[in-house]
């Protein structure tokens, strides 16, 4: 079957088996290997991309279901010459050890900062009201991204730094 997707602003028509996941399409058909496969079952967040602006696990998306959708991957938010604020902050703060979870962390954090700015509550937000970027809020909101190297404190520092830059 065939599906038309817009990935990082560029339209692609991909031919694929009905079983193809969005993650495999991105990595194997489009060569965008920044998006990682950790568990392939929604449990680690390494495959996080933006689907029409919202963060999702691409391993739990069927390519066939995303006709016409817009996908943003880590390759789409910055380049080695022009890093995004979050990418810069991860480098600056050493927000990783092995780096395998990092593209997923950065994609997830990109969406998370937008969610906070839109007033989205989390499980730990007082009264489900206007959230602020505390360490507790960050830990809760980023819990869908595991880091086997346990770089969590530095990941949170990097996110906090990028949030300051954006203000």
């Amino acid at each position: 079957m065939k599906t038309i997707l817009t990935v990082n602003g560029k339209q692609h028509e991909v031919g694929h088996d009905s079983r193809r996941t969005l993650l495999d399409t991105l990595r194997d058909d489009l060569g965008l290997q920044g998006t990682k496969k950790g568990c392939d079952h929604g449990q680690c967040g390494a495959c996080t991309v933006l689907l029409n602006g919202e963060r999702v696990n691409s391993c739990l998306c069927l390519t066939a279901m995303h006709e016409g959708d817009e996908i943003t991957t880590i390759e789409g938010i910055g380049s080695p010459e022009r890093l995004s604020a979050l990418q810069k902050a991860f480098v600056e703060k050493d927000g990783y050890q092995c780096g395998y979870c990092t593209p997923g962390q950065i994609m997830s954090a990109t969406a998370m900062l937008k969610e906070i700015s839109e007033g989205a509550p989390s499980y730990v937000s007082d009264d489900l009201g206007a959230p602020h970027l505390s360490d507790e809020e960050m830990a809760e909101r980023m819990s869908g991204n595991l880091c086997r190297c346990s770089a969590y404190p530095l990941i949170r520092e990097a996110i906090a730094m990028a949030a300051e830059v954006k203000k």
Partner: protein, 336 residues
Amino acid sequence: MRPFDYFRATATGDAAMASGQIIAGGTNLLDLMKIQVVNPETLVDITRIEGLSEIVCHGDGLRIGALVTNTALAHDTRVRAGWPLLSRAILAGASAQIRNKATTGGNLLQRTRCPYFYDTSQPCNKRTPGEGCAAQGGSGRMLAIFGTSEHCLAAHPSDMAVALTALQAEVEIRARKGDLRRIPIQQLYREPGDRPDRDTVLEAGDIITAVILPAPLIGSRQVYRKVRDRASYAFGLVSVAAAIEMEGDTIMRAHLSYGSVAPHPWTDDAVAEMLEGQAASDALFANVADALISEGAPHPDTEYKRTLLRRTFIATLRQLTVLADRSGTDIARTQA
């Protein structure tokens, strides 16, 4: 994954006639298809059907389309103000990424997390009735303590459904031929009996089209308290959904449901009756908690859930009534 035909429905009628397995967010179904626990020949994508993604006012309540995402529902300002218990319960589940895809209908119909259900090398009556149950004699700390049968001890994992049960929501179902029916959410789920493969009363061709929330419980205090192995992104071990209406120190109405302890969100009318009309006190809560857990656990590994449920129940009621400091972060009072 086994090969399947993919069909994109554009109307509920098409989806019902396609006689395949419905896929919405796919966050549960794809997972199960990858490990070949569910092997549909035809997958019917309902995500492009119009009119199922809205939350609209319905009398004093709300009508939530089956395709409304868990995120959209938890964030809705009406839900946050009038049914804060529901927002909390949804936000207590899964991760932001999963909640962005997961739908209202799919969340209600997600399958158990019993590890043997996922392991096709082990017998499981929920996968294949009559095959046996590997959990019995195996390890089972995620299993249920109430409402089980000798054929299956599995628990229902949804957090959202527990809140919807306490809030007495209804589920709207469209049958293959087009007639709509509406049932209380408790009647959606079946007792496992000797057919634990059938989680719900849905028949072939039935589609959940909406969930209906009744009018908010104005002035009630609401909490969703979930206990799990880690602070976030983990299924519950036990949970308590509670909405309490008080006059002074007296509990007027108690709307309660318990999660991860039964094949469906658990309720116990006797417990609510023991609380209603009584002044809140530690002695009352201890008595009622003992009544709630009076049954023995059907598996030695879940014996701990009785103690945990007892303590969680008491802590929740103390938090909601006069006995504990009211400034807890997860209490919300419904607004008009």
